[in-house]
Symmetry: D2
Amino acid sequence: MGEQEKWFETTIRVRYEETDQMRVVYHANYLVWFEIGRTELIRELGFSYRRFEDIGFMLPVSEVNAKYKSPARYDDELIIRTKIAYCSSVRLTFAYEIYRAVDQALLVSGETGHVWTDMGLKPVRLEKKAPELYALMKEYES
Amino acid sequence: MGEQEKWFETTIRVRYEETDQMRVVYHANYLVWFEIGRTELIRELGFSYRRFEDIGFMLPVSEVNAKYKSPARYDDELIIRTKIAYCSSVRLTFAYEIYRAVDQALLVSGETGHVWTDMGLKPVRLEKKAPELYALMKEYES
Amino acid sequence: MGEQEKWFETTIRVRYEETDQMRVVYHANYLVWFEIGRTELIRELGFSYRRFEDIGFMLPVSEVNAKYKSPARYDDELIIRTKIAYCSSVRLTFAYEIYRAVDQALLVSGETGHVWTDMGLKPVRLEKKAPELYALMKEYES
Amino acid sequence: MGEQEKWFETTIRVRYEETDQMRVVYHANYLVWFEIGRTELIRELGFSYRRFEDIGFMLPVSEVNAKYKSPARYDDELIIRTKIAYCSSVRLTFAYEIYRAVDQALLVSGETGHVWTDMGLKPVRLEKKAPELYALMKEYES
């Protein structure tokens, strides 16, 4: 989609705790970074995931996939690129790409699928419960 | 498939640390449990992942996917079922299913793809470097 | 106190995720293992920490200390020894020792201090709110 | 040094993964944040912990203590204050205070003790092996 694609970027630095004895980042940590990517994207939209929960919504993960191309290492500065790949009244899919800042190498790409739920983890229709928020997410969909 | 399928089972109990403020297990932890599943499967085969590294092999994750059907909660006893879904001289794919012990509900299913590498993360051909190990893995492939 | 000391033992195995690039266990993980020690001690007493929360109590950590003598490594089997070092109606202190199973080497020792609270993290007097539970904990105090 | 105390400040934001079902941050995560504090302090000194390891030194944790006064919550912005409390040729102690940015409330304080070692975890005398680095650390001691 080229110029229309709405990637949002945020940066992090790899923590010692995130490495393992292969001397690279343990693979599950990229999922935590995906979470940071979508949190910061939502903040950029003028909302916050914390507020979602304050007003009675949750956005649990229903699906995840990740492809590991090259490893991140301790103290690397990384760029997390996030976009809304799909948005409906019941589902939301984010796409992610994680780059090493120093040479812009793509390390990992992935997606997470989510379902809008109430605080009891029951699915809700966002369009009905929060039409403005729905419109906002929908507009940002790539 | 049926009787030929070689699922290996191991059990764990959910740690407090693995929960999040949704009062369920944080989704990235299932990847850690997948790792326990394949570690114990390899041990069952008479080998150990630790020994892989001692003799100069590593098995980094190149790909992962997971589908979350129902959440695990603190102190739940879980059954991790693991099998070798695909094995070649360069690649290995494990499949996993995680069940809640008390009612046998399927919580999460997924797969991890791996590449055989040396300690410098360079790909190696297992069949060439360790033919007996290759035969062992191959035989266990479902 | 010698023979009167009421240590409870449970075993775990080190996960790959718990290692770091020093090729030993990352130090914060021992706190997670302390938590497993006290959880299993409480279960041994015929209760469960999960039930504490179900009946409206929490036992947040108010203080922790740990001394690291020797490192645990990937796939090591470890023994967690736990006892109730101090118990009053408002406070509880657990002591821990973590040993490597294969040679009984002491790796880490430590303590965690806790306060009985309600679900809103407000302190409560256990003796008043749950006298039988208080008696049970008190009796087990070393 | 009294009023000249050399606290170094860095900020982080609480990740969803760091919460637990008490709806506050799981206590072991503060140790990870202490690590970020000392990493950034060392960077401020013109060095980097990564470089320590590149030139053959490690600084494993030998001791830790923490006092938890008030809980951090999801998405809170936190200030980590770190100083070198003690420095000798063989040992290093960092002190930490973690504040909530919004109201400057002190949440947690603590210390970590470290030993200079070689890559095989054998103790070394920093003054002998790297006199300039030793002088640098020593000067910054509070």
